[in-house]
Symmetry: C2
Subunit: 431 residues, 2 copies
């Protein structure tokens, strides 16, 4: 027990926090085991909420956990019973093993327990999804519609209705609601006020106050965060590298910066406004009041306009699909529009890499499906302009979570909070 | 003693590290007391190695330290005796106090004990200085000469000779050599290899190997770091804000990024290459191989050329002094050159602030004396281009350490290491 109660090897934990500590220790051990079918993958996506799966590893048994942690068999069994009772862990059929004796039951994260609700408000769509403890996306809904004409109150009412529908579906699947995270394309304070979302036209919108009392968002924590930050966290937890620049291309362009496994939020939480970095200081005017911002060269609307796809009666979603088809067919205007946007993005990203020193750029949002045509131009600028690129190449790739990274990352952040503090969930208990 | 042995309140420290821990505790308490005359300020500078001085605070006595830390009087006295014996702390005359009893002796950092040697290699000068434990600059030498024609081996031999002279002067002043930190304008690996210093023309220069055996650098640790990083650390320890962007203007332009009191080194330690961020992607070619880099608009040579002061038989130092005089006299060409450089710098800095979210920009190197003319243009671009500037103003100011920030910061980093680990110094003992 003495060894079991240690954190970093020599600083004993007090009795009061010992169970909490050991619950976390056991759950982490189970979470980093190989992934198994904890739930049906109804929506086809996975966000790695459970940490990096040990490649080729075996599903751990109680005895394995005792051996790995130094806890006694009896302690592990008691803790595992608590985790099973709280629907955080479930038993699976024994895996064959060498040697004598009855094979032990394996332990995996439960796919039928607590689940996170992710919501996203973006300029031309609303999205919602549910992610279970194993990281599987269990349900996902996207409503495409321009959100600019409606005010914040109406948009928040719509997203709360979407939340109600998705939460209902999650309950039908037997999942327990663990909390909600809402992604917005703007600057958000720590208490959930959207200080500025330029492309939505929002300023000083107190989200918690406006959704207060809505049943779909009640009974569990609600957090509000920048969409690129949540997407970057989702990417990080999907076996992402320890340091990378996540670029979210939508009508606006945001960034999430991950350094050494941690999100860099900046001095006041307002990092990542990549769309308002100047590509050409005297370029075309931007809605923010400045000139030559990246958004004017590489935002979704700018790309569609350059490809001749703006204002043709399509929704933006249809227009992006059309752009992808044209690029696949090697349409010169489409290829030129994407190469030009990629160059502008590459100039800006090269500047960020020179200043921040990251070696991976992840393209998300509408950039994810467009990566085959954007990445070569981005790479060209980066290789040309980053001082260290000659001996330390930079990788440019699409987000593993595709265009849904923000909403999936939002739901994943709720699940992550449960996994990080299992005792709180078991206490009745919200993350 | 139980309370005295705690770190963060509830995690006891083992006996083996208890003395080390408590020595640090007592020394920090003394270091954050009010500054006093620990040594003569021979060179006129101060870098705050001892932490933030408690404004209006009283010089602490042994009894004060016992009361503040929870250590017994006997333990404090034994620890203080060790610190005095190791020349880390010295006693000063009692300060008058209210109440009865004999006034106690005050304790301050010793100005006659260990001192750090700072060295700097830059494109057109070499510098060396000594900083004592109180943060006072005790001796400082600058040799102005273009370092580009000589190779790394010769330049390092010159800087080692400079180190020998300055170290000799420090010994004459009774100081003990605690170590050396060398600032270079380039990308440095953790083991002291300069991977690239474009403006010096250096590539893969193994500094420790090349200076190995030189007596002036022997007998104590030698660290090599980027000059802007060391300058930023110096600024941080001089009552700087918790988060800021330090910009070092020389022939090249580097940056040190401090977020929440910590230097942000990037994924591989190569952050801060601000000089190679593009101002105009198709601007004039840069030595790095790209086009339109900030250095081409706001580097020292670019500013002097724009002001008509290049190639007139002056050294760069004389030319910068001449530029300052002309600006003071409101010479139109000088003012235009500085405003244009400030605008280019402002565009770049605004991009960094949009991405990183810092609210203070510190101008160092040759920018420090030129700040009165550069800052208005920088502020204009920042206010115009930073999305959050409207409600959260950005401060642009000169470095408190002036043009010597890198070399003073380098020496200060050595002293800081002694203060952070006093037991290592006392053990015979290098930081």
């Amino acid at each position: 027990m003495a060894q079991a109660g240690t954190r970093s090897g020599n600083t004993p934990v007090r009795q009061a926090s010992l169970r909490e500590h050991n619950l976390g220790l056991v759950l982490r051990h189970i979470a980093t085991g190989p992934p198994t079918a904890g739930g049906t993958d109804a929506a086809g996506g996975t966000v790695g909420t459970g940490g990096t799966a040990a490649a080729g590893g075996r599903v751990p048994s109680r005895a394995d956990i005792a051996a790995a942690t130094g806890l006694t068999r009896a302690t592990v069994s008691a803790l595992v019973d608590d985790l099973i009772g709280g629907r955080l862990v479930t038993e699976v059929a024994p895996t064959p093993r060498a040697g004598a004796g009855r094979p032990a039951l394996g332990l995996v994260l439960a796919g039928n327990g607590p689940a996170g609700l992710g919501l996203e408000i973006n300029v031309d769509y609303l999205a919602a999804c549910v992610v279970d403890l194993t990281g599987r996306v269990r349900h996902r809904v996207v409503h495409r519609a321009d959100q600019r004409p409606a005010g914040p109150r109406d948009v928040l009412a719509r997203v709360a209705d979407l939340a109600a529908a998705v939460r209902g579906e999650a309950e039908r699947q037997g999942l327990a609601h663990a909390g909600t995270a809402l992604a917005v394309p703007g600057l958000v304070t720590a208490d959930g006020v959207v200080r500025l979302a330029p492309n939505l036209g929002w300023r000083d919108v107190d989200v918690p106050a406006l959704v207060h009392g809505h049943p779909a968002l009640a009974g569990a924590p609600l957090t509000v965060d920048n969409e690129a930050n949540l997407a970057a966290l989702g990417e990080l937890h999907t076996a992402g590298p320890a340091s990378f620049l996540y670029v979210s291309g939508e009508i606006g362009i945001g960034a999430g910066i991950v350094l050494d496994g941690a999100l860099l939020r900046g001095a006041r939480g307002w990092s990542g406004e990549l769309g308002h970095v100047a590509v050409r200081p005297d370029g075309p005017p931007c809605g923010c009041g400045a000139r030559g911002c990246l958004e004017r060269y590489a935002g979704q609307d700018a790309i569609l306009a350059a490809a001749g796809l703006a204002d043709r009666g399509h929704t933006a979603d249809q227009a992006v699909a059309r752009l992808t088809s044209l690029a696949e067919a090697a349409d010169p205007a489409a290829l030129r529009a994407l190469a030009d946007a990629g160059s502008a993005l590459g100039v800006t990203v090269a500047g960020v890499i020179n200043v921040l020193d990251v070696d991976t750029v992840v393209l998300g949002g509408v950039y994810a499906p467009l990566t085959p045509w954007l990445a070569p131009a981005v790479e060209d600028e980066v290789n040309h302009r980053v001082l260290t690129a000659g001996w330390s190449p930079v990788t440019v790739r699409a987000s593993r979570l595709g265009g849904d990274a923000a909403v999936v990352g939002a739901a994943g952040s709720v699940v992550r909070a449960v996994l990080d503090r299992p005792a709180r969930w078991l206490a009745g208990g919200r993350p």
